[in-house]
Symmetry: D2
């Protein structure tokens, strides 16, 4: 989009919004302030159990991961933090890493532990970690999480995200109730090892890598555990972690209703945990989720600032940086559209049972082309008007390949 | 099966079980004691939104419904109670109904309220009942439930089952959090109107008849509400009320872990709430559910006697009485097989991570032909060895048609 | 939207499109020409197996149904034909009906037969119709379809739509291969009874009202049968007739690739055959479907004019006329957005494996606010700028209730 | 099970079957003759995208894979062939491999090509292989398949199995119709390179490793391509390659109806392509599939001998050899139970619309404990009565670890 059309479109939209009593500059300011963390493992090519195709120029260490996120931040102004994964991202020199991050304007979002793989630790996680029938394995897994907390503390992180792959592949393999109890007990130990200004973000997922049962399959189980841990334990929603046809926006509302929403792992999917680019498959669902988020915060269910935002996708076919630029844009659009919803009118429709008009209110917001607002927010923040075009024009991937090599592989997955 | 083969099979099975240390007569006694309630609406032909095909000879009133269940009880000895639905089953003469039921050996299981249809009440439930944005509608729905409790008290029932169809068909139609709160508040009023020896059984269902959202879509939401009501409010599991691929046996375990399982609505399904005959589609799942039930009770998670058992199917193509005979048999078989599981060995396999052997333990029980045990339990209780064959030989449906007419239609759905 | 903003928005959009080499007036003309048929049964309130809530003022006979569609045509200019259902819409006076329709500018789209219900015919369809094991039932069902063709001929229709509910509820009930063969044979008789300028539109549906198997569950089976009938038999796609997560746009492409796409039944759904308003749940999917349709037609796979368009939704909570206005708008928007896709650039991206840019091409079109184009097309055709607002301002439903009564019920479902 | 009880159970079952007119020895003979191939990649531990847990003692080369299958054959007498995967199993010395296989009584089932990974070939398959927009990549992929045919010819194989991972992750990435046409054209070249006594087995799969679309997602597309190739191209059914709730047994019947069923990849699943042990999750579905197979063959739809049988599971938590023993047992049981179905009576029920009795016929067979028959078939063939017990008693895995090492990893996935 040329600058000329950007300005014209923005002006016309602004004119229309003003007529509706919406302050465009306030809107742009909100969009500009909304920041989404990026995980360290999202900077390399992902893969499936059937293989992986390299992208080239992938970051070879933590420092290069920070550089990639710094670049994203500079171009998009939509991200200001990285989420590290231990053991993949154990810093060699903590101070150097902190300084590098600070120089790039990047903070440290929630830390991620890993008890779903064997990477040289004494006891195997093949039969589970926090839920393992063997107390020694549970102890090892707890200690790993405590170590992750320590690393996070040293970097200035304020949260621990636990995704538990524990579960079973066959009926009879696991004792459902014991596994749940052991997991709860293990998490209690981890929770009590967290500083008082940290929060624990507990994921749920119905299947994969276990295909009969997972210990924390749904928000109900995650919430049940969090309630036993304490107020700073909340439920993390990964958009891909649901059974077919799940109404995710309702889960978001139900969690906010209980002040129990930890935050998001954004991605998109058609089948399961496909980890596709956010907004690429079901953009209307993403918009409806943001409608619930804004409504829940405005109506006092749960504070907006208490929610964590992160992208978690697997870049199997796209350049990860381009994919992240697209995802940040899609999230910003969904947020901007949800901000346009006339909530007063919507409430009135709901009270009157005017289903047709309620749909019109949502459609009015969703159908609006908000790209001028998102672009303006980015420009005003000092980012690029068209970050993807800039990335390509500057041949950034080519430069990264020249520097890091064609066959470099990001550490981790 | 001839009596000769029944005896031979029973003897051989008994011999094998004895060698494993299992007391066959105790087993038979447990099977004989297990009783499953039948709802009053299951005695007529069901239908879909596309139509309904009559079966003929359907009960025309409450008394005839009791007679049908009395017949079922006599033939199968697996059912001893009816679950009534108000307003479909409002007794004209309570004492007469009680006497009729008593004479047939039939008790009154949990009562069912209906706030999902308009049947002449002043305010419409089109936009919901307990969750309606209009306080007057909520009040009416609460009062209906209180009236159902009164009727139940007069008959000797000890429970109220609430299936709430409330929800929305379109994004924007309902306010998720308000709907949930209003529902909780309404249920609090109903709960406080229940006698102290009653329990409230709260269903969940992800969709249908609303197709965008339902107010109580999953066990987590049902449990959340129950926790706010009190100890006598628990979650009812209808086997058809789940999203595709849900691990239902795990939900059963999770609910028992919290002493939160109210009971079951048994049926089977391939797609959604298909309401097919229990055990006709996924018999192994039914077995696994009973494994959890027995394990949870034996290990002290929740008392067996605190759980309610009911069939809830829709007989669209079969004679309802034949369908119920098949369902009662399938449930008894699943229960009997689950009783055969060597739980000690299973626990050992789980502790040792011996997945292959754990599967063998379950398969050993499931593959056993337990029909001699179920048949013997029925015979010892005074029922028919082959109730379905008896029903056909005696031409019972033909007699019912002769008596009640070919186009009689069961009251209700 | 005020007229002022409509004009401003249209001008700016037109300016932008012109710069991209797109002729706005041609675009508007295409949108204006696109007409979608409405079925006669969509004019009354729908329902589920759990009940039905009346809307009031529903058309009481075929003439009133025509009047409702005439009104829709007048307001929206997006529909010009009705699709009748026999026996619900058997005309009493064919000539009068034709004249009424002609006076309203309404033609007769494909006829719909009904062999899924018992409505007084000699033999029951409980165990199936075209696939029934009893040859006499199959004969009756074939003859019903032939009668529908006769009625259609008298009205000027040019097609027969067959939705076959046949199937089974339980394993063992039906003989899969025989049922398929009998259905094929029955359809051959029907096909040979069609005039040479008619087409047969054959639906598929995986489940409901049968819940174990349906005789024509997927496009593959429908296509297999059509191939045995002849060139004028093609596969009809109802958007709600798919298993969870099905990629419907790919099915559309695959059918066009074989010149085998009969047309559409538009609606939307979250779970199954929910029959919600088109575009209310998955607008991006609808857009992607139109991308395939336009691409397939432009690239010569199948001619655009050979495809039939119809809405088929169930209006359980909305005023049917308002619902149809929303659906016609949503379909027009999806079509307009798909027309904006830069297909040349998309093809180039596909050839070069530029996945990121391919997504941008689609997003560029989808994110554009095309409402000014759709509105302008409507206005230029003589319709209302805002048909929904007009409908409400004119209190049309209230007038219909006054005329037809509050408890009128549309004939049929 | 002790030998004593085996004999007693077999005698009683035989007595019962004789009374029904079933010849037990013929039954045992059929079970004994039924052989299922094992793929070379199933002998090592599988994994997910999140990691892999070694089992130890995995075969390090083709010879050791043959040895493992030879062991399976010796213990179970249910498998007599291996299915190789190229490039993972390119024989170094073809004659030596053939001799080794012959000495173990193992033949060579269908060959498997691999165009879903990059393993050093000049052009990448990242954007597809047989469907790639680049003709050079398509040519490379065709030539790979032709090379696989050559290797297969040298070993005595008679078939080529093509599982095509081609597809796309994002809307817009692929051109559906072109991808389908290119795939068809590529397969024509491969088909014409096959010897005249070979068959081509073409798989379908709805998703994974591509998560938006796959080129051959369903049986309809696979069948469409096969029809264009020739009579020796048929559709392969992998039990895990379906959308949720698919009626697989119906697909089997529909394919046999067209003489279009190539064969099976046996496994089981709860969510997607979980690749769990056959029979571990849905044993009743497996039984129903065998009912269709036997019915289709007996009634002349497609010859039994024209169908290929193979296990294709991923052994993530079990010892692969133990897993395969369990799978072979489960398949044998399902087959044996299906052989017990009283098909004449079932047909009668179907003709009379006696749904209840039809279910009883299937249940009568499914509920029968056929383990004595399967065990006897194994013993009579010279296998072990209890192969799993034998395997453990003889500490075979321990011996393999001692010989091959704890960290050996099977070549391939």
């Amino acid at each position: 989009m040329s600058n000329l059309f950007h300005q014209k479109s923005l002006n016309l939209l602004s004119e229309q919004l003003t007529e509706k009593g919406i302050d465009t500059s306030e809107l742009i300011s909100k969009i500009a302030q909304f920041q989404i963390a990026v995980p360290s493992w999202a900077l390399g090519a992902g893969g499936t159990r059937f293989g992986r195709f390299s992208i080239g120029g992938e970051p070879r260490n933590l420092e290069e991961k920070l550089e990639d996120i710094g670049l994203l931040a500079q171009l998009t102004k939509r991200t200001d933090a990285v989420s590290l994964h231990i053991p993949w991202d154990i810093p060699q020199d903590t101070e150097a890493v902190k300084q590098k991050a600070a120089s790039l304007g990047i903070g440290f979002d929630a830390m991620n532990s890993n008890t779903f793989q064997d990477y040289g630790q004494p006891l195997s996680y093949k039969m589970g970690s926090l839920s393992n029938a063997d107390a020694a394995v549970r102890k090892q897994a707890v200690e790993h999480n405590l170590q992750v907390i320590e690393i996070g503390k040293s970097l200035g992180s304020k949260g621990l995200t636990v995704w538990l792959a524990d579960g079973s592949n066959f009926p009879g393999q696991a004792h459902f109730r014991k596994a749940l109890q052991w997991t709860t007990d293990s998490l209690k130990e981890i929770y009590s090892g967290m500083p008082s200004d940290w929060k624990l973000l507990l994921e749920y997922k119905p299947y994969e890598p276990n295909f009969y049962h997972t210990v924390i399959p749904d928000w109900g189980t995650s919430g049940l555990i969090c309630r036993q841990l304490g107020d700073r334990a909340k439920v993390l929603v990964d958009l891909g972690h649901h059974l077919p046809n799940t109404n995710i926006e309702q889960i978001v509302a139900t969690l906010m209703h209980q002040d129990l929403l930890a935050g998001f792992h954004f991605n998109d999917s058609k089948y399961g945990d496909d980890d596709l680019s956010t907004g690429s498959i079901k953009p209307y669902q993403l918009f409806l989720i943001f409608c619930e988020l804004i409504g829940g915060a405005e109506e006092g269910a749960q504070a907006w600032d208490s929610i964590s935002w992160m992208i978690d996708a697997s870049h199997n076919t796209k350049d990860p940086l381009e994919d992240l630029i697209q995802a940040l844009e899609a999230i910003s659009q969904a947020y901007a559209k949800a901000l346009l919803v006339d909530r007063e009118k919507l409430n009135q429709c709901q009270n009157e049972g005017d289903v047709v008009a309620a749909q019109e209110v949502l459609q009015e917001a969703f159908l609006t082309d908000v790209r001028p607002l998102v672009r303006e927010a980015r420009i005003q923040s000092g980012g690029e008007g068209g970050p993807l075009a800039f990335y390509r024009k500057e041949k950034i991937r080519e430069k990264l390949i020249a520097k890091r090599g064609r066959s470099s592989q990001a550490s981790g997955l």
